[in-house]
Symmetry: C2
Subunit: 517 residues, 2 copies
């Protein structure tokens, strides 16, 4: 991954002419390049004695301290993370990178970290956009990035139970490739798919574009192995049970603060024989949202279901390759169907009948959407280059509250960032009882774009919590969402998290500062 | 509810002639009547000073100490619970029964219990079969049953989001009646439906006969309000989110040990216009189980799906009213379809095609099954009257492990209880990755039937855990399953539960002895 941008360095490039013209007209541009990577100021390297001890655990070849290795594991991929690096601030870098190869090595590293009071930051894909990789440094003897890259195996496949056990360092494409050898798929395709890891998906409760068909990642997980400072934890003997609180649901969402996940058993599905995507047009966001709700509550959800609001439709952000093109107005909905030809035909017919009856206008098949999907984040960085601040945030609430939250967040962002701010939104995850809202914001960068965004983010987060929604549908908590998590779960909920943290990690070496308010 | 039997006292009666003949031939009978209820020895009544304080919180009319009120809230409805009461042992009775009417009164009662170090046992329907109502008495100034009977309101209905907020004391039929006024249903029909409560469903992770169509109760819950010794806890602003560990999943399954649930927000569905039940015959249990797995993994589950093994089919226990009748051999499967006529027709056609293709023989519609369903537990008590020990236990595992667990549990029970033991089994809850196994056991009562059963139960529980299944699919933990829960979640899992207990209820007054190993 590029050190200061999303994705493949070879793919990084300037805006298309049409996009640049659009941005220049609506927002204005300025040349704001990144510094040279060699000039980014990192933290001091971990002391030699500690490095020697790490080498004794994992082998010297798996302890990295070079500038590039540490730079590439500095923070995540949020816009503030990018802005800091682009300005040369690498102060949150790890002091060393260590790459264990086994559960026992992870356990030994944790024991070492407790003994030496070194902060440990589990690293999967490095794609956090909520400060999940930014550990508190004060009070620790150092900060080590525990890179799970060597946890790259498919450990078991059970085609009777349709489960597979994957190692946490597998990134999306590698996991899918291993499963495909067995004719299987996870069906988990978040926008971070190309870089994010199985372990990361689990501990952040990730959700992908096909969530309507395959489910959120937390609903795919049936088993977990975790290394904690208190010892190993193995959970999951069944799809569901009544054996007390579901501790899998405590590990999921724990963001490395309770332990390091070393194996994940997930529900899998047969690779679909057929994939079809379609576009629909709605006169209004409200009309499209009602149609989504109707589908969810009728139990006839397609595999992919996404609705852009009027602004996002106009910018055509659903198809990053076509930004600036002609959207046709109204609100764009994408539906996708995956499975056997028979299942796809049946579901598609039912969905088509319902959507048509509710006033949707079918625009036909749309192969372009899926292929361009993972290119979205590149756009953000091309915009940063020309002085435009771009960031996303998301929430989830019950259907009856959706439009209130939508209005409140838009209003908060516009008030905070001022005239000329673009606020785009889509719904991409639906449930019987509610749906997510995913906002993309673009504004001209101020002199201090980090402070500019933090103010807007705080205003939007307040609007989310004040209006009874969740601070995050699928981005997780990290450092950035902690104050609002505390409001969301209240003081007793915070006590519960702190008690679990204190019990599992009493010396506080696991991802300190992350998750726990 | 009858003091020493399941259900309505008016419905209690002797076995049918055919059932008696069957039992007499296979197991043998003996007259083993219960003692007179007035002669059951209860605990001492709570001291007057404490009673006066309780009356100050809830009003004197809501503090009950009479023999009958305390007898009816003594333990739950497991066979050992019944055997103890039938023998006159009421030593686990509450010293008083208190009936708060509001969340604030519950909070005040908890504060009082902490102050006076009195054990509090939340009471909904009193239907626990795992010792969930048997608090530890030693070290406490008394034991009070906190009866939630006055929490009987439907607090809110949101037909946009298809959710409803119910008070925890509502029993199944009352909750359904309130929802039916809005054309809605929970769709949660466990065998305990007529007596068990909404709060109990939530804190025990109940699962009902229609789980394939409506989901387990824990999957219906989107919000909870809880009174804890640390204050109120309000959870649930969305269908799902990524805001850290899902604390709803910690309250669910907590069995009153972390707090008292005072409101539950659940997903609801439209009342089905059509309900159709059918019978199918399979040559073998394995063949029927494979068919269930195929349905689940193809995503074409009926609303109800149940398969009796050869023994249960022969006894015809799927239809309690017809026990002893002609079963026709093989294995009986029940399928049920609920919804709109269109949805039922479509699902039924898909299921019929799959089951037929897999070798099932359709036996036609079967209206009898559903209506007789809730009468099952009465049979147990009629058998206790004639010297037969009858009890049930259940588990859940992944599909690939199902037959190993089935064989192991049957073998353990037969070994423990000896020749002539009847072990019947059915699968009634299926998932893509696995299924439940529900065993019914009948044997001639030994001189000490409680010790007899506890030995058999321990052997079966060991077999469950040794073979990697869960100690309970939907009966919960209570006192009875604690040792096996500890093995299931391991020492670190136990530490997590203890840490939550210590944090939320540091003085340990909430249902002491229950759940936490």
């Amino acid at each position: 991954m590029h050190w200061s941008r999303w994705g493949d360095p070879a793919e990084a490039g300037p805006l298309s002419e049409s996009a640049f013209a659009l941005v220049d007209a609506f927002i204005g541009t300025a040349d704001t390049p990144a510094v040279d990577p060699a000039s980014v100021r990192l933290s001091a390297v971990l002391g030699q004695e500690l490095l020697d001890e790490l080498a004794g655990i994992v082998g010297v070849e798996h302890v990295l301290t070079d500038h590039d290795s540490r730079l590439h594991r500095t923070r995540g991929k949020s816009t503030p993370d990018m802005l800091k690096l682009r300005a040369g601030d690498g102060s949150d870098s790890p002091d060393a990178v260590v790459r264990p190869g086994t559960h026992d090595e992870v356990a030994a590293l944790i024991a070492w970290a407790v003994e030496r009071h070194v902060a440990v930051v589990p690293f999967g894909g490095g794609t956090s956009v909520v400060g999940g990789l930014v550990a508190r440094r004060e009070g620790y003897a150092g900060v080590v990035s525990l890179d799970l890259v060597r946890f790259d195996k498919l450990l078991a496949v059970d085609t009777d139970s349709m489960t597979a056990t994957l190692e946490p360092g597998l990134r999306g494409p590698a996991a899918e490739a291993l499963l495909a050898e067995h004719g299987l798929t996870l069906g988990h395709f978040p926008q971070s798919f190309e870089y994010a890891s199985i372990g990361g998906f689990a501990v952040t409760r990730s959700s992908g574009q096909s969530s309507a068909g395959y489910g959120r990642f937390d609903s795919l997980v049936v088993g977990l192995r975790v290394a904690t400072p208190q010892g190993g934890l193995v959970l999951g003997n069944s799809p569901a049970n009544a054996a007390g609180p579901d501790l899998r649901e405590v590990v999921m969402g724990s963001e490395g603060a309770f332990g390091v996940v070393t194996a994940v058993t997930v529900r899998v599905r047969r690779l679909p024989a057929v994939k079809v995507y379609e576009s629909w047009r709605w006169d209004s966001f409200a009309g499209g949202a009602t149609a989504m709700r109707t589908l969810a509550q009728a139990g006839v959800l397609p595999t992919v279901l996404r609705l852009s609001d009027e602004n996002e439709t106009q910018i055509n952000l659903a198809k990053p390759a076509e930004v600036g093109g002609d959207s046709g107005g109204g609100c764009l909905m994408i539906t996708g169907f995956e499975g056997t030809q028979e299942a796809v035909d049946a579901k598609r017919a039912a969905v088509t009948a319902l959507l048509t009856g509710l006033g949707g206008a079918g625009l036909g098949e749309d192969e372009g959407w899926s292929s361009g999907r993972f290119h979205g984040p590149y756009l953000r960085d091309s915009l940063l280059d020309v002085g435009v601040l771009v960031e996303t945030l998301e929430t989830v609430t019950f259907w009856s509250n959706l439009h209130r939250v939508y209005d409140a967040v838009k209003s908060a962002l516009t008030s905070a960032l001022g005239e000329g701010t673009l606020v785009l939104c889509h719904i991409s995850h639906v449930y019987e009882t509610g749906a997510s809202l995913y906002f993309t914001v673009a504004a001209k960068q101020a002199d201090d774009p980090i402070a500019q965004w933090m103010g807007a983010k705080a205003a939007a987060s307040d609007a989310i919590i004040d209006n009874g929604a969740s601070i995050t549908h699928h981005h997780a908590v990290g450092q950035d969402h902690k104050p609002w998590l505390a409001r969301e779960i209240g003081p007793v909920g915070v006590q519960m998290l702190r008690a679990l943290k204190q019990e599992l990690d009493p010396s506080g070496v696991l991802n300190p500062g992350v998750l726990i308010p």
